[in-house]
Structure formats: structure tokens, C-alpha cells
Subunit: 333 residues, 2 copies
């Protein structure tokens, strides 16, 4: 699945930035791919990008209109239909991570066929995914894994990819979720894959590569999450990571929204991730801890990083606060 | 997903019993649900059931025609179309585990709508599966888990269910694969569920029940299988098993067809299953070993069972050879 950049970001009628996380993520991580923004008259979210109509964006070289908001229920609002049809007529692909498939918008599929553009539901994985082979691939791989969901696995993978590239190392970010996929312009929404093909999809995501090339793979879920651990394990096995970067929120004690499920210690988490990862890559090891310290002051954050690093004997960093030299050195060691 | 019994078993043009494993499984496990058989003129596989046309079967009370063979590629042969239409016209549901969806047979969906019967693709899970909640359910649960695929997890679950029932214990077999689903008349093909919903599907499969009721759940895959471990882990977490029955083939040393993947020891397998199962049920433990000794003579089988039992300190049995008193006692202990 490959998306056509650059993007025109659609913000709907949102007034709350939190409902436009996808758009902000794109603006922050791939500003060079974000040509402009467009919103409905009621909308107030502002990315600070030039306002453009689909026709203006297409004339300026845009490849796709990306739906950058997540309304309640994940539905495509009927009020958007006209705009989506206009975008298609202007020659833009439409990219959506919403629950409603783009083909459900009346007339959109026909208009897209006429215009020769694509309707891309990033939640929908390719139809022809294979089962995993377990065969070792060339190149190096890092995977971000977590003690829980929603604590920085995507952010960490993006930051580490950038840090490797800045250090002159050939590296690619490999997206496994919707926002990551839009940032990278390619990837597979791994949690939408049929269970039998999770590891197979993960194998496709980071194919054979040069021996010194790094794929930095966005993790999903957590082995300690009672709903999503299956996704995590399949992704872990198919990724065959040489290096695991263990992500944790410094102040979280339970699985988010699941008070009956306490989180493991970093030691226990690292042990289970390493043990299970070694099925497909006996060399797999946790090389660094990525600690989300967003709810700590600077002093407490520094202490938490020190404690985490001491517990596992590897560098600890907060990708929003720390230099990434330590993790880069650990990966290349 | 609930199937309408009893069945008319369709055997296609098969001449090899191994390609009719589904039909044999049904005949062996639910003879009371197998009313008759029907085959194409070229077919020679014989279950020893009365030959019946769809109309005769319907008149005798049949609820469904079940496709009991697996032709190469999993396709519905065009030569079968007439027979399937006849079955629908006679008032039978059609049940298929093949790759080709029943709706792809020209005219079949319309005929089924007209006749008011169902076309059931057992590979296709329900559309409305929820994500897992992790909330503990009432009743007791056993799950068969394995060192590998295809070594007797379904057979073991069926045999243990029967043994519990014979001992006067309220027990249900819970199917997670196609043949199991046809035997039980209900269930969910867990490997066909979208990754995000594996554990949620497993939760649906064994709902709240009486405190002394046992659900015996058919396991899938293996935590040690590089392609399918994600399915296994999601099923394990959603099942919340009190008891694990560890299934192993006494002579298998590697994952079947994957010579680079050696199997774990029983001890290591039991440890990882218990550790991961305890996320959703802290009381989970391996209570017995089910050993497939089909390639050993009686003496060697007895020795293998003894060795396995001694290694884990729990009863070991071969469901095809042994009495099941030991495992029943272990479950009820």
C-alpha cells in the first residue's frame, strides 16, 4: 500500500485539536508532505498550513486528500461527500483511516474510476497477504515494544529512524498503524489483518535489505494487554527484530483503562519480549528503554530515566526530551 | 454462528478418504447428526451412511448440506453448482469451510433467499465481534494448547468433553476451527478473525456459565509456531482457562514442515503457556499432557506417556489409546 504525496489535509468541522491527531502527526513528522489544509465552515482546528481547495492543491502538485480527523464513531459525515467528490474530480486520491469505507460514499467509486485516482482505506490491509515463512531476512531490524498501548511506540520508532538517518545510517520507518502509514506513505495496518496472516504481514513489511540497513518498525499493542497481545506477538515474530526498544510510561501502573491489569516491571517485560522474539531471531535483545516522562517535571524525569537505565543496564531516553545518541550507539554496537 | 443439524454430507468426486477428513470427523464425532451422504458420480469415498438426494434428506429432517471434502485450492467445483441449487431448493442450509464463498456460486444467494435458507461459510467469522474486555467470567474453562499445530488439540478437546460428560459433569466443547465448528454446530473460526478481535472472539466463545460447568475449548496454533503464535496468544487470553491441557506429538522434534524450528521441551512449553495465560487467569495451570503416540508401538507409547507424566508431574494420556480418568480427575481436583 503506497500513498501519493504530498497531501492536502482535511480537518472536517473539528474544533478540538485532539480529534485531529492524525493531521497534527502528519504536519509534525512530514511537513514537507503537507501542502495545505481544508476544513468545513464550522471547523476551527488550524495546522498553520495554507488553506486550499482541492483544485488549488492539485494544481500545486498534491497527490492525495487525507482525512486528518477522527469524528465520533469513525463515520464519514454526509456533509463531506461533496468535498470528497470535488477532490476526486480534481485528480486527488482520497486517503482515509475511518471506519466507513470510502466506497460507501455514493458515487465516489465511480468518480474515482473516471478520474483514474485511488480511494485508499488505510485500515484495510492488502487482500493477498501470505502466511509467514519464518525464513531469516537480510538487513537489521528494530521493533518498538511496550508495557502497554498508547505510550509512544510510534513516536519512538519515528524518532529513532530520524536519529539513525542523522547519524548517516540507512534506515526506514516501517508503519503498522494508520497514522504511521500516512506519515510513511506506506505500510500495513497490522491490527486489521486476519489473525492467520499477522506474522506474514509483518514479514512483508520489512523485506530483505542491505546488511547494514535498519528497518525501525512501529510496534502495536503489548504482550501484557488482555485484548491485543495476539497482534503484538505476531508482529514480533514476523519482524524478526535484532533490537527491541522497550517503551513505557514512567507514571503508568496499570493497562490504560483496565485497572485490574497491573503493568509488569521493566525487567519482566524485557524478559518476555526477548524470550518470545528469540523464536524467530535468537539474537534479539532489548537495547534501550524509551520512557514517556510527559507527566514528570525535568528533575523527576531525569531520575526516572536513570532508574530505568539502571534496572535493565541499557540506555534510557525520552524521545521528546533526550538526545538519542545512546540508543543509536546501542543499535550500532 | 449456529448450524442447523442433522446433516447431509457431500463428498464431491473424492476418491481419497484423506481429502474427506471433515466428513469423517463429523461421522465419527456426531454420528447422530449425520443423516446421509451424497457424492458425484466419479466419487468413491464411502462413509457407510445412506445415500440420499437433497430432497430425500430434507424429507427425512435434514437441516443442512455440509461440504465434507477439501479439494485442491479450496474451490467450489462448477460441477457442484446444480447440486447446491437443488439442496437450497429442497430447503437445506449449505455449510462450507472452503475458500470460495458460497455467494460466489451463480444464483445461489437468490435461491437461498427465495427458499429462506442460510448459506454458511464457517471460515467467515461474525461481523460484529467486540474487542476483549478482560473481565473474568463465571464457570470453569479448559483449553488445549500445543507444542505445534496439527497434533491433536481438537481431538483432545472433544475427547475430554465426552469424558467429563460421561463422568456426569456439565461440559461443552467450544469449537475454534472449521471441522470443530461443524461438529459442535457452533463456534468461531478464530484464525479468520481480524487481529484486533482475536481475544474478543475467544471471550464470546465461552460466555458466563454455571460455577461447576466446564467449557473445553479447542486450541489453535502454538506459541512456538513462527506463523500462528498470535492466534494462539489471543485465544489463550480471551479463553481465561483455569486448566491447560498441553498437547504434543511424541515423535515430533521440529515444527511440522519447518525444519529450522525445533520444538520446546514440555517443561519450557508448559512454563510459557502458564506464564502468558496468567495474565487473564492467575490460577491457570497445565493439568495434563495429551500425547499423540500414533507412530509408536504400544510399549513405546506407554514409555513415552510415563516420561511425559514424570517430566511435568501431571497425568499424561493419548486420547486415542488411554482411559481419560486421569485428566478428568485432574480437572475436577
Amino acid at each position: 500500500m503506497t500513498l501519493r504525496k504530498p497531501y492536502l489535509l482535511f480537518l472536517g468541522e473539528e474544533t478540538l485539536p485532539v480529534k485531529a491527531k492524525t493531521a497534527y502527526g502528519l504536519r509534525d513528522w512530514v511537513p514537507e508532505a503537507c501542502l495545505g489544509q481544508i476544513r468545513m465552515p464550522e471547523g476551527t482546528v488550524d495546522l498553520g498550513l495554507p488553506a486550499m481547495t482541492p483544485a488549488q492543491a492539485a494544481a500545486a502538485g498534491a497527490g492525495s486528500l487525507v482525512i486528518g480527523v477522527t469524528p465520533r464513531g469513525g463515520h464519514i459525515h454526509p456533509g463531506w461527500h461533496r468535498l470528497l467528490l470535488d477532490a476526486v474530480d480534481a485528480g486527488l486520491d482520497i486517503v482515509s483511516g475511518l471506519h466507513t469505507p470510502l466506497h460507501a460514499v455514493p458515487g465516489l467509486a465511480q468518480a474515482a474510476a473516471r478520474a483514474g485516482v485511488a480511494l485508499v482505506d488505510v485500515r484495510r490491509p492488502p487482500d493477498d497477504l501470505p502466511r509467514a515463512t519464518g525464513i531469516k531476512r537480510s538487513g537489521k531490524r528494530a521493533l518498538t515494544v511496550g508495557t502497554d498501548c498508547a505510550l509512544g511506540k510510534k513516536y519512538t520508532a519515528l524518532a529513532v529512524t530520524r536519529a539513525l538517518q542523522a547519524a548517516g545510517v540507512a534506515a526506514d520507518f516501517r508503519a503498522t498503524g494508520q497514522t504511521g502509514l500516512m506519515i510513511a506513505g506506506q505500510g500495513i495496518a497490522i491490527d486489521a489483518v486476519v489473525a492467520d496472516f499477522i506474522a506474514g504481514a509483518a514479514e512483508c513489511l520489512s523485506p530483505d535489505n542491505a546488511a547494514d540497513h535498519w528497518d525501525v518498525i512501529e510496534g502495536q499493542g503489548a504482550l501484557f494487554h488482555p485484548a491485543f497481545a495476539g497482534v503484538t506477538l505476531g508482529l514480533l515474530h514476523g519482524s524478526q527484530p535484532d533490537a527491541l526498544i522497550l517503551c513505557h510510561d514512567a507514571t503508568r501502573t496499570h493497562v490504560m483503562s483496565w485497572p485490574d491489569y497491573p503493568l509488569p516491571s521493566l525487567t519482566d517485560a524485557a524478559r518476555l519480549y526477548e524470550q518470545t522474539a528469540r523464536l524467530t531471531n535468537p539474537a534479539a535483545r532489548v537495547v534501550a528503554v524509551s520512557l514517556n516522562t510527559s507527566s514528570l517535571d525535568e528533575h523527576a524525569a531525569a531520575r526516572a530515566l536513570q532508574t530505568a537505565s539502571a534496572e535493565l543496564g541499557v540506555p534510557a531516553f525520552d524521545p521528546l526530551r533526550s538526545r538519542l545518541d545512546g540508543v543509536v550507539a546501542a543499535l550500532l554496537a
